[in-house]
C-alpha cells in the first residue's frame, strides 16, 4: 500500500484503521506507511470512505480552520482526497496480501482464503471422521501479526510428531516439503496478519499435539489461537470434549455444523 504524498493532506484519519499501526504522519505533514510493518491487508484502502476532493481545497480549509482556532469535527472514517493507493505487489511481498487481506484470492497458492472448509462442510465432505480430530492452529491473530519463520517453527515441530498437513491449506502449499513442515526460504521473513495451520490426527494424539503447540507458543513473538473439531457420535455425544476437559480446557465457544448439507458424506 502506498499513500500518494501529492494527495494526502495529513488529516490522520487513516492511522487508527491500520491493525498493525504502520501509518504515521511524518515531518513533511503527510501520512507515510512503514513498509516493513505493513502487512498489505488493504484495510486502510478498503474500509475508509472517500470524498475525492482536490487536495488544495482541503489544505486551504484546514489552514483556515487552524488560523481561526476552529476545531472541525469530521467523520472519522473519511479519507478526504482518496490518497491511499494500492500498489501491484511482486513475489515474495504478495504473500503478505494473500494472508492478510480477506478479499484477496490465492492465485499464487491456488487456494482461496486463509484456511479451508474445515468442519464447516464436514457433513458433506466427511473430511474428519469419528475417532479423529481436526486442528486449526492460527498464528498472528488478532491484529498481532506473524512471520513465516515463526510459522515454520510451529509446522516443523508438528511435523516431528508425524502429522500430515491439510494439502488444500495455503500454508501447506508454501511448504518446501510438507513432511518436514519446512517453508520456502524466500518468504520466511515476510510478515502477515495471520495464517492457519490445518491437519487431522487420531483422537489419541490430541494431548500430544496440544502439548506441542503450547510449548512452541512460549517461544514465539506472537499469539496462537487453537481450534479443534471432531465429528459427533451418532447419538450426538462428543468424545473430544472429555479429552479436552482432562487436559484442563473448558471451551466456552464453538462452531457447530448442523448436518443439514446434502448429499451427506456417509450416504454417498
Amino acid at each position: 500500500m502506498w499513500i500518494n504524498p501529492k494527495l494526502c493532506v495529513g488529516c490522520a484519519n487513516c492511522i487508527p484503521f491500520c491493525p498493525v499501526g504502520a501509518i504515521a504522519v511524518g515531518p513533511s505533514g503527510v501520512a507515510v506507511i512503514d513498509r516493513d510493518a505493513c502487512v498489505e491487508c488493504a484495510n486502510c484502502y478498503r474500509s475508509m470512505s472517500r470524498e475525492n476532493l482536490p487536495p488544495w481545497l482541503v489544505r486551504t480549509l484546514r489552514k483556515a480552520a487552524q488560523l481561526l482556532r476552529l476545531r472541525p469535527d469530521p467523520d472519522l472514517d473519511i479519507c478526504p482526497t482518496g490518497a491511499i493507493t494500492p500498489e501491484p505487489l511482486e513475489w515474495p511481498r504478495v504473500v503478505r496480501s494473500l494472508f492478510s487481506d480477506p478479499t484477496s484470492e490465492h492465485k499464487v497458492t491456488g487456494v482461496a482464503g486463509r484456511g479451508t472448509e474445515e468442519a464447516k462442510t464436514n457433513d458433506v465432505t466427511g473430511r474428519t471422521k469419528e475417532g479423529e480430530a481436526g486442528f486449526t492452529v492460527e498464528l498472528g491473530r488478532p491484529g498481532v501479526g506473524v512471520t513465516f519463520a515463526e510459522i515454520e517453527d510451529v509446522t516443523a515441530s508438528l511435523a516431528n510428531l508425524g502429522i500430515s498437513f491439510e494439502p488444500k491449506n495455503p500454508v501447506t502449499s508454501l511448504m518446501e516439503d510438507p513432511k518436514t513442515g519446512r517453508i520456502r526460504k524466500d518468504i520466511l521473513q515476510e510478515r502477515i496478519l495471520s495464517a492457519i495451520v490445518e491437519f487431522t490426527v487420531p483422537l489419541e494424539q490430541v494431548p500430544e499435539v496440544l502439548r506441542t503447540v503450547e510449548e512452541v507458543s512460549t517461544r514465539l513473538q506472537t499469539v496462537v489461537s487453537i481450534g479443534v473439531y471432531t465429528r459427533n457420535a451418532r447419538d450426538g455425544s462428543n468424545p473430544l470434549l472429555g479429552i479436552l476437559h482432562q487436559l484442563g480446557y473448558r471451551p466456552q465457544r464453538a462452531k457447530v455444523n448442523m448436518g443439514l448439507g446434502r448429499p451427506l458424506a456417509e450416504g454417498r
Binding site: 487508527p16 472514517d77 468442519a119 491484529g143 464453538a254
Partner: protein, 224 residues
C-alpha cells in the same frame, strides 16, 4: 469462518453467527440460489449484521462522498439486506449475525424446513447453540471448539478492546480504531450506536456484532 470462532470475553450469549456454505466440488454447482434463499430466510429474523463473504456486509464505506453529505448528515452507513443477498454470484459463505438465541433457533427451524442442502453452521456459546439446535429438532454433525489464545498474551490489547476486535476474526477491526471510538463515546462526540457502526464497517464477512459492540462501548465509558 474460523474468523467467528475465537471471540474473546464474558459476553458470549447474545453473539451468534449462522452461516451457510457449499462444499467445493461436491454441491457448489448452482449454489447461489440456495445461498440467497438462506440469507433471505435469515433476514426475516432480525439479524444485527449480514454478509456474503465477497461483496461485503450490511455496513460499508462510501466510495464517493461529497462534503455536503457530511454537512447535512446524510451518510448511508448501511445497505439493504436485499443488496447483500443479490450480490451473491457464486460459491461463498453467506452469514447472518444474531444477538438472540431465540432468533437462531427460529432460523434453524426455517432452514431445516427449507432443506436447502448447504452445510449450515452456528458459531456461538456452546450451551446456547446446542439448545437452539435441540429445539429446532437438529442433531449436530460436527463441532469445533475454541481453545482460545496462547503465546505472547501480553501483545493483546486490554479486555474490552480485545472483546471488540475479536468480533472480526480477519483482524480488520483495529485496536487503535476501537480505542479511538471508545474515547469519542466517552467524550460524547459519538453515540455508542454510531461508534459500533464505524467498527462494523471493516468486517467484510458480516460477522461483527454491532449490538454487542454497543453494550461494550457503553461499559467502556467507565474505563480509564
Amino acid at each position: 469462518m474460523t474468523n467467528t470462532l475465537h471471540r474473546y470475553g464474558p459476553r458470549q450469549e447474545g453473539d451468534y453467527i449462522v452461516f451457510a456454505i457449499p462444499a467445493r466440488g461436491i454441491n457448489d454447482a448452482g449454489c447461489e440460489d440456495k445461498l440467497q434463499a438462506f440469507l433471505r430466510l435469515a433476514s426475516r429474523f432480525n439479524p444485527v449484521n449480514m454478509g456474503n463473504g465477497k461483496g461485503g456486509s450490511l455496513f460499508r464505506p462510501e466510495r464517493s462522498l461529497n462534503p455536503f453529505t457530511w454537512f447535512t448528515k446524510r451518510r448511508r452507513h448501511k445497505v439493504s439486506p436485499n443488496r447483500v443477498i443479490e450480490e451473491i454470484k457464486g460459491p461463498c459463505t453467506a452469514a447472518a449475525t444474531f444477538d438472540s438465541r431465540d432468533a437462531v433457533c427460529a432460523v434453524l427451524k426455517a432452514v431445516k424446513e427449507a432443506d436447502l442442502g448447504m452445510s449450515v453452521n452456528v458459531s456461538g456459546p456452546i450451551e446456547g447453540t446446542y439448545n437452539a439446535a435441540q429445539e429446532a429438532g437438529i442433531t449436530p454433525h460436527s463441532i469445533e471448539y475454541s481453545l482460545e489464545f496462547h503465546g505472547r498474551l501480553d501483545l493483546l490489547p486490554e479486555a474490552p478492546v480485545l472483546e471488540l476486535i475479536t468480533m472480526c476474526g480477519h483482524g480488520m477491526v483495529s485496536r487503535h480504531l476501537a480505542r479511538k471510538v471508545a474515547f469519542l463515546v466517552k467524550e460524547g462526540r459519538l453515540t455508542s450506536e454510531e461508534a459500533a457502526i464505524y467498527l462494523a464497517k471493516p468486517c467484510v464477512c458480516g460477522a461483527f456484532n454491532p449490538a454487542k459492540a454497543q453494550v461494550i462501548l457503553e461499559e467502556m465509558r467507565h474505563w480509564w
